[in-house]
Point group: C2
Chain length 150, copies 2
């Protein structure tokens, strides 16, 4: 995919964090790695699971800082937990397939022309309602193959 190479992602993350007065510490670098390798949004319990040396409170604080710096974003899945992923300019514009039964979330992309048309229409509608700097969030919610079997 068109995602930036990992070292470039780290450079960008470091720059943006410094831009908002934060340091690029080991734990923050590690979180970026975890999110970059996941390829799907992760909840804090998922991030903590099987990894040592990460205090829950620090992970919450750091993900929040990464969001503030524009390096990550919080995804709403209807799961009980919030999930996090790298921001789109570090990966690529994509959408989510969310299983309404188990919360499983998969990244998907749509054809370029459809995306462009969507963006135009949404921009028009949003401006008419007085909204500025609008991005869109399009997710599909259904039943994944595992849950359909039950």
């Amino acid at each position: 995919m068109s995602a930036a190479r990992e070292d470039v992602v780290h450079e960008i993350a470091a720059r943006r964090l410094r831009g908002v007065g934060h340091r690029y510490t080991g734990q923050r670098r590690r979180l970026i790695d975890i999110l970059a390798r996941a390829g799907q949004p992760l909840s804090i319990p998922e991030i903590l699971h099987g990894r040592r040396g990460l205090a829950q409170s620090s992970v919450y604080r750091n993900l929040s800082d990464l969001v503030d710096a524009g390096v990550a974003r919080r995804v709403l899945t209807g799961d009980e937990f919030g999930k996090y992923e790298l921001s789109e300019d570090l990966t690529e514009h994509h959408h989510h397939l969310i299983c309404s039964s188990c919360g499983r979330t998969t990244d998907v992309t749509l054809p370029r022309p459809l995306e462009k048309r969507l963006d135009r229409v949404i921009d028009d509608v949003a401006h008419a309602a007085g909204f500025a700097d609008v991005i869109h969030r399009l997710d599909a919610i259904g039943t994944c193959s595992d849950c359909a079997r039950r």
Copy 2:
């Protein structure tokens, strides 16, 4: 808009609740009224605010029952609270403009042809990934006019 008249909404709500073994009580009827008149998703604090005779726990329970019966749905706004609205077959298919700064949420609709194309493409993509019974959720997130002024 093409929304059903209020009394029809109540009939449908009553039928669907009975269908899952629930009664159509005064409080449930009242919640339907509140959601129907709001024209935008409401959080539980918003529902409780300025209304007497609604116990918080019962509102949580009843909204959950309304969702189970297919009369309402839970909307994720990034606000700290979950918000609820009537299900789309009782109103009409629409989307949300969400202010990332203050959480203000406004309903909007998109052109029919775009919606149809979206549905087709999402259906294809979802099926390819093994998902069934997919609906789409498209929201626009930006800055509302009030927050832009600050």
